[in-house]
């Protein structure tokens, strides 16, 4: 019996029918005719289940840039449609990034700080965002908008002539309504994994494209804006010193006096003040990147030819963007705003309280990516019909459609292992669909109710922990889900298109030379010559042998034997046959790299993304050599691809191996770089290696690659890294009275976590069970001690129980001693309440340590050719 059947059984058994009398039953029967199925009238926007209101203004073809369209010239209609969705579709997540994250999760994004047009030229080096070539700063030469007042301080972008007219008004017709869908192709219902398959049913029954919700560009690629119908211009003007062109009334601090708590407060936490735009993210926000083979001359002013959609933005600082409205001494900023450029903690919003930022996956040569047969997958599969009376939690047909049905079942399936730990393993399409949840789509309808609320500490209350997202419910209740799902074949075909083909170093160098001299030529053989000049005669050939003998068992998608293999051979489809990674799960303890990401728990049973991992994933045995809680799928890393490694340093899943990167050279108020280098005792180095400023040029990437390879192959030369708090975290508890001149605490306390504390210590600490146990140490001490003894053994269990009792007593005597009391007993508490105790972020993967210096050089040369 699977989970749904169990749930059904429980629910059926447990429904309280109250006092159901014959009279009630009679009335039920009588009143069936009065059943009204209706969504309540909307105050601010029409229900998205139907195409939007009749067109008010039409977005014309010229609103779409020739440069953007040129990027699709080589793509077929399905691939081109998928590309446009990837670049533009938010699937409704502007509500998440404007309301839900701020109000429900309690974390503030300062979109103006990130996107203000006045700082357009600094956007890349500050936030790693890539400027949209079609947008401009109002008032600049040729820009249709003449002043920031017209655009509320943002860039002017194509489509804004229409969009700006609807700021503060209803009935904006989203440009997605005019999206040119790929031609409908009749497909079989089972064609879920066929790239060009179609939604089920015999006719075109795709959800309205309006629900893709494109809006217009904000000026940063993949970041989209929408007119806010609730915006009040007069109120905005009043809050902003009489102007519409700035957001300082929203994001400006309320006091300049550092002793006043308002020095940390802005109206970003006052939802009554509505901004002019809602901001949403497309998949491209993280994945659109500079083309490694055609980088821009000036990263602040790229052209479309410098941009590709799939390799992943190695410079994006989405963790910092997502907490950009928080004070720097807040827990949120200190614990989350330290992910290295190009990484983000995708389990920070649906938090599993495992501090584990990872890179945006580079989507290259996807068609060659390994798959795994016969995995046990429970999921919804397309069918032609459901049986009459069938439980709709097992089989469901979309109302108003013909034969657009799904049935939930368990079957063996051939799947990819997508995420770092191999989760997102129920199918290519479903993994793509989940990207939209990662970026906020359908949050209100489908998943915020399933998240952990960090403030709920009563285990009986909703929000104490996660519960599983329900794919069937989301399909039924969220039109944006259906709009994406019906076009997954297009998205999949885009991922398999030429836009994801390898970007080789010899091609990059050829392009570079052609820019200087149109007649210049540079071929693969020239690259080999250059590499051998730099790394030694015969280095590339020798490197291939070293790779086959030492690396290929994990980093080749071809089977053994590896000796004599041509790792550059082409497959029938013209792509390099070898994906240079086998995606097989390997124990994190065997690889030795920073294990926290492998302990990600959102795909385990009972957790939010349970339905997106195969049963095979969850059946993986626990690792006896891992000191942290694991099992149920946790504790593994898949063996990643090395295709185009030359362009993707620093290395490892967290970009921790290699020089640290920074946008402003390590200085300035907008520099987010933290010194992570520590000595053997874990103490921060006062004199640390300098960070490397962002350099997306061909030679910049290659230099970074070489430096990272040196550290990879010479583990003893790696300065260890631990991310620390770079400022005290200050938490004020209790009311303060303002007497007109000064703030006075009435009662309460201030908790202060000192700078220099490991960020992961806080990010991984499971504060809820700790608090529950602290209370139990006073209310049910015997029961608690027995439980701890059972889990940790007699000696340690008693010690932990004693520590909890002592802390509770100390806190009752003097609440201000809470942190001191905890600190005194930290090793014991970490043992009991930390989800991950690893600290060195660039440790492990020492497989090249024993190679000779010559072989290390050779391997570096060879890998640069792949």
């Amino acid at each position: 019996m699977d989970g749904i059947a169990v749930a059904k059984n429980v629910i059926t058994r447990n429904v309280i029918t109250g006092v159901i009398t014959k009279d009630v039953i009679k009335r039920v029967v009588l009143c069936l005719g009065l059943l009204v199925v209706a969504a309540p009238p909307h105050a601010e926007e029409a229900p998205a289940t139907q195409p939007a209101a009749p067109p008010v203004a039409v977005v014309t073809a010229q609103d779409y840039s020739a440069g953007f369209r040129a990027g699709a010239a080589q793509l077929d209609p399905s691939e081109a449609a998928g590309r446009e969705i990837w670049y533009k579709a938010t699937a409704g997540n502007s509500r998440f990034h404007t309301y839900v994250f701020q109000q429900r999760i309690g974390v503030l994004i300062d979109w103006y700080r990130v996107l203000q047009s006045a700082a357009r030229d600094d956007r890349f080096k500050t936030w790693g965002l890539i400027n949209d070539p079609d947008c401009c700063t109002p008032g600049s030469e040729g820009c249709p908008a003449k002043s920031l007042e017209e655009t509320y301080g943002f860039d002017w972008c194509p489509g804004d002539d229409t969009l700006l007219k609807f700021v503060g008004k209803p009935d904006y017709r989203d440009p997605a309504c005019d999206f040119q869908d790929a031609p409908f192709v009749t497909g079989s219902t089972g064609a879920t994994d066929t790239p060009h398959g179609t939604p089920n049913g015999s006719g075109d029954q795709r959800q309205s494209p309006c629900d893709l919700e494109f809006g217009t560009s904000t000026g940063a690629l993949g970041v989209r804006k929408f007119p806010n119908p609730k915006f009040d211009a007069e109120r905005w003007r009043a809050a902003n010193g009489g102007t519409l062109g700035t957001w300082v009334g929203l994001d400006g601090k309320l006091s300049d006096d550092p002793k006043n708590s308002d020095a940390k407060v802005s109206h970003l936490s006052d939802p009554s003040l509505e901004p002019p735009f809602r901001v949403g993210l497309a998949c491209g926000a993280c994945h659109i990147a500079f083309n490694p083979t055609r980088p821009p001359q000036d990263p602040a002013h790229p052209q479309w030819e410098n941009i590709v959609g799939l390799v992943g933005n190695q410079y994006a600082r989405f963790s910092e963007i997502m907490v950009s409205g928080m004070p720097t001494d807040s827990l949120e900023w200190q614990v989350f705003a330290h992910a290295r450029p190009g990484t983000t903690d995708t389990s920070a919003v649906p938090t599993d309280q495992v501090n584990n930022p990872g890179t945006m996956n580079a989507l290259i040569n996807v068609a060659q990516r390994p798959t795994f047969a016969n995995e046990t997958v429970v999921k919804w599969r397309k069918v032609d019909a459901c049986a009459t009376g069938e439980d709709e939690r097992m089989c469901w047909c979309e109302p108003g459609r013909t034969g657009k049905c799904w049935r939930r079942s368990s079957q063996p399936e051939t799947v990819h292992h997508i995420l770092k730990d191999g989760s997102d393993s129920i199918g290519f399409h479903e993994a793509l669909q989940r990207v939209y949840f990662n970026i906020g789509s359908c949050s209100e309808q489908c998943w915020v109710n399933h998240l952990t609320d960090l403030r709920v500490i009563d285990p009986q209350q909703r929000g104490y922990g996660q519960t599983p997202f329900d794919i069937g419910q989301c399909r039924r209740d969220c039109p944006n889900f259906r709009a994406i799902e019906d076009r997954l074949p297009n998205l999949a075909s885009f991922l398999l298109s030429a836009e994801a083909h390898a970007a080789d170093l010899h091609v990059a160098r050829a392009n570079q030379r052609e820019q200087a001299d149109a007649n210049a030529h540079y071929e693969y053989a020239d690259l080999v010559d250059d590499l051998e000049r730099e790394f030694g005669s015969g280095a590339v050939t020798r490197g291939k042998t070293v790779f086959a003998e030492n690396c290929a068992r994990c980093h080749s998608s071809q089977g053994e034997p590896f000796a004599g293999r041509d790792f550059r051979a082409l497959a029938d489809n013209g792509l390099r046959a070898d994906w240079l990674g086998n995606d097989v799960p390997t124990l994190a303890s065997e690889v030795g790299t920073f294990r926290c990401r492998s302990l990600h728990s959102n795909h385990t049973a009972g957790h939010v993304w349970q339905e997106f991992a195969s049963e095979t994933y969850r059946a993986r045995p626990a690792d006896p050599n891992n000191p942290d809680p694991n099992g149920g799928g946790r504790g593994y890393y898949r063996n990643i691809s090395l295709v185009n490694l030359w362009a993707h340093a620093p290395f490892l899943h967290n970009n921790a191996l290699g020089p640290e990167l920074c946008g402003w050279g390590g200085v300035g108020s907008y520099e987010f770089y933290r010194n992570t280098y520590v000595d053997a005792d874990g103490k921060q180095l006062a004199t640390a290696p300098a960070c490397w400023p962002y350099d997306p040029s061909v030679e910049g990437r290659f230099a970074l690659y070489k430096a990272s390879m040196r550290e990879l192959l010479n583990p003893d030369a790696r300065p260890p890294k631990i991310t620390k708090l770079n400022q005290d975290i200050v938490i004020d508890i209790g009311p303060k009275l303002w007497d007109g001149a000064e703030e006075q605490r009435v009662y309460g306390l201030t908790l202060r976590v000192p700078a220099g504390t490991n960020a992961g210590l806080l990010g991984n600490f499971q504060h809820k069970p700790f608090i529950v146990d602290l209370v139990r140490s006073k209310t049910r001490p015997e029961e608690l001690e027995a439980q701890l003894i059972e889990t940790y053994g007699a000696e340690q269990g008693r010690a932990i129980a004693g520590a909890l009792r002592d802390i509770a007593n100390q806190v009752i005597d003097d609440p201000s001693q809470f942190l001191a009391a905890v600190k005194q007993r930290l090793p014991l508490l970490i043992k009991a309440y930390s989800s991950c105790t690893a600290d060195i972020e660039n440790a492990g993967h020492e497989f090249g340590r024993d190679l000779s210096d010559a072989d290390k050089q050779a391997l570096t040369a060879f890998l640069a050719t792949l």
Partner: protein, 301 residues
């Protein structure tokens, strides 16, 4: 000694004042006693993981309008918190209210039927907590009579009938505190708050009406003492309400995002004016985002 006494008075006042800020209290429905509603609940175990999904509850067990009409503050106050939650999740925000509303509050009860705080503490100490909780409820009811909504201004103020306990916390003259007369009973108006449509902290599927005290110092008539107690510098009070039926709202009060108690708000005039039309078809004005899950509005069973 004297200082200790003053501190005790002050702390007592602060606790009481925070209650003022949380909710407005007061009279119950002045209607003939009616039969309790017959509402389907999906039972859950004790742990959070056993709580059924709101989307599923609403899909399988929508509350018929005829049953919504039977819900009273007393009925709600007798329910376990899980049942209150399951009702709240099946409501929509309705219109942002206008005018004076009578209120009542009740603390969350666990599956044992006693206050949840009492369950957590357990034993004799738990009984003491239960007793104190009931006293707090009664004290709140004696002090605070309701809320007044100024819909057009998107502002709310609380009706306080007896300022004696709060006096240590109120600076200056009481004469400059505005008053309101509801049904021939005077009340002071304190603790202003902003009104807007926003996120429910319990159920994200549709918005609730938010009563937010954090930035009330922006509002006309704000007086630092005692109003600051509810603001961002004080207890960071945030209420959210959804409409049971016209004139009757169910609310949840939070301190710094932590759920504390439930409350109800009732306006007889609105109930009598708009109730019959609602009874007929279940339609009501929706000022807030109503979500995209189809609501099944059963006029009756």
């Amino acid at each position: 000694m004297q200082q200790g006494f003053r501190l005790k008075v002050l702390v007592t006042g602060v606790v009481l004042a925070s209650l003022v800020a949380l909710v407005a209290l007061g009279g119950c429905e002045r209607k003939p006693k009616i039969e309790p509603p017959k509402i389907d609940f999906v039972l859950a175990g004790e742990g959070y993981s056993t709580k059924p999904d709101f989307a599923l509850i609403e899909h399988l067990h929508p509350i018929p309008i005829a049953e919504l009409v039977r819900i009273t503050p007393e009925y709600l106050a007798g329910l376990e918190q899980e049942q209150v939650d399951q009702i709240y999740a099946r409501l929509s925000a309705g219109p942002i209210p206008d005018g004076a509303f009578d209120g009542a509050l009740f603390f969350p009860k666990g599956s044992s039927g006693t206050l949840r705080a009492s369950e957590i503490v357990g034993g004799l100490k738990g009984l003491a907590v239960q007793f104190k909780g009931r006293k707090l409820e009664a004290l709140g009811a004696a002090l605070w009579k309701g809320k007044v909504f100024y819909r057009d201004e998107r502002v709310l103020r609380n009706r306080i009938e007896d300022l004696a306990v709060l006096k240590p916390l109120i600076g200056g003259s009481l004469a400059d505190i505005p008053k309101i007369d509801v049904d021939d009973r005077d009340a002071w108006l304190l603790f202003p708050a902003k009104l807007y449509c926003g996120q429910s902290l319990l159920d994200g599927r549709r918005e609730s009406i938010i009563i937010d005290y954090a930035f009330s110092d922006d509002l006309p008539g704000y007086r630092e003492r005692p109003d600051y107690l509810a603001t961002r510098r004080g207890f960071k009070v945030r209420d959210e309400i959804r409409m049971v039926r016209p004139g009757f709202y169910l609310g949840r009060a939070y301190l710094d995002h932590a759920f504390v108690l439930n409350f109800t708000l009732y306006n007889l005039t609105i109930a009598e004016r708009d109730g019959p039309a609602f009874m007929a078809n279940g339609q009501a004005q929706e000022d807030c985002w109503a979500g995209t899950q189809q609501r099944h509005l059963l006029v009756s069973r």
